[in-house]
Structure formats: C-alpha cells, structure tokens
C-alpha cells in the first residue's frame, strides 16, 4: 500500500517534535517496525530538521519541507530547506565536525542519520539550500 505526505513548516524549533513524530507515525504504514526502529526513524528525522533550522537558516526565518513516501517494507523521508547550503558535504558528514562549536553543537547529526537509517543522500548548493533524503528498510528474517 503506497502513500506519501508533504509538510511545509516554518523553521521553528518547536516544530522539531512535530516533524519527527509525524514521520514516525507515517513510517508505521511500511509494516511492523520494532520500537527501536521507530525511535531510530524519529531521531534521524529530528537531526535533519534541526540541521535545517540551525545551519540552513541560522535559527531564523525560513521554510522547511518534510516529505515522505512509504511502501511495504520501506520508508523514505526528504527534508529540504532553501537556506545557506553546505560548502563541503564530505567534511560535514565527518563525525564531530561542526561549523557551530560555540553553540554546543555535537557535530553528530549526520552520523546519527547514517547509523539509524539505511541510506542517506545529501544534495546541497551554497546559497540555495539543502535536501537530505533518508531511507529505511524493514528487514525480517526469512522463515
């Protein structure tokens, strides 16, 4: 049973919980995830939305689009912003790297996404914005 959704949100931190909870609920349509897997999806989406707010828009004023598609056994989310963009994606993906150490950023956002989701694609252009696409597969032992 295939489905999709799209959410347009202002880049406000109070929307982080709304976005991740919505994503987790939507993911349930893919099948019987474990509670651990649902928490992983929630956390990964939270990381991407937070990045858009903090790094894309420097905590002010912009729009984030959170969208998802689901089919049996697979869910995919895309988090897009029209903010600053990432100068060097490979460097940004390095664990502990952050452009905002003075704001106590741990630099682990992408690391968490990559650990908790099966695929993470980052597409970014300086001055135009960033799109993060993440996919998770529901794997079950073959009986």
């Amino acid at each position: 049973m295939e489905n999709w959704f799209e959410l347009r949100l202002p880049a406000l931190s109070q929307n982080e919980k709304f976005a991740r909870t919505t994503a987790a609920l939507f993911a349930l349509q893919a099948g019987d995830w474990s509670l651990v897997e649902i928490n992983e999806i929630k956390t990964a989406v939270s990381e991407a939305v937070t990045n858009a707010i903090i790094h894309g828009y420097h905590e002010c004023c912009g729009e984030i689009i959170v969208s998802g598609t689901v089919a049996a056994g697979v869910v995919e989310f895309t988090i897009s912003d029209a903010g600053q963009g990432i100068a060097d994606v490979e460097t940004a993906r390095q664990p502990l790297f952050t452009t905002k150490p003075e704001h106590e950023r741990s630099g682990l956002g992408f690391t968490v996404m990559e650990n908790f989701m099966d695929e993470v694609e980052i597409d970014s252009t300086l001055g135009q914005g960033t799109k993060v696409k993440m996919t998770k597969y529901l794997l079950r032992k073959v009986q």
Binding site: S13, E16, K17, T43, T50, T111, N115
Partner: protein, 113 residues
C-alpha cells in the same frame, strides 16, 4: 520537557522528563548554568528515567555541562537511561567520560567517592 534540579550534598541532580531536542536544550542549558554559577555543586548527575527521547542536540548540551564541571575538577554521571537513549549515548562514546549508572543511588556513591 520538564526539568527538576535538586542537591544531594555536593551533587546537582538534574532530572529530565520528556524529550530533549534542540528546542528543549536551551532551557536546560540556562537552568543548569544558573545553578552551577551558585557554586554549591561540585559534581553533576543527569537522572534520566523519564527521558523518552534525545537526539544529538541533547548530547551537545550534556557535553557542554561536562566541560564546565570537569574543568572545575568535578565529575559528571548519568543514570537510569532508557535503552533508546543509551544507544545514542554509546554511539557518541560518552560513557568514557560521563559514566552510566543503573540508579541514582549507585551514581551518587560513585560521584562522591
């Protein structure tokens, strides 16, 4: 997220209930910093049985408080982590610097040693 601060001797016990994300992190930082400024506590304990969600923003605010307390010669611990929280905590390598305890009492015994 609800934040409760209290003292057990020279340990500031920070009890969190709810979800610790970027939105909740600022308030947590401010409240704990204000309390640490009073210089009553030497050590810090994050008491987390009620914490149901944390992402890397939460790790950042916990690490920031660790740096401050550690620089002043104190110790930091965390107790009663839900398994989901513990997974993220382990991924970040935090147990090496902020040990995890099964309970508040076990943590207090160790921190005060």
């Amino acid at each position: 997220m609800e934040i409760d601060l209290r003292y057990r001797g020279n340990v500031l016990v920070v009890t969190l209930k709810g979800e610790l994300d970027h939105h909740a992190a600022d308030k947590l930082r401010q409240l704990v910093e204000k309390e640490l400024d009073k210089e009553i506590a030497i050590h810090l304990l994050f008491n987390l049985p009620g914490l149901t969600f944390m992402d890397s923003s939460g790790l950042g605010v916990i690490l920031g408080r660790y740096r401050r307390v550690n620089a002043a010669g104190g110790k930091v611990g965390a107790c009663s982590l839900h398994p989901y929280i513990e997974r993220l905590y382990q991924m970040a390598g935090l147990p090496r610097i902020i040990p995890v305890y099964e309970s508040e009492e076990a943590a207090l015994v160790s921190l005060k040693r």
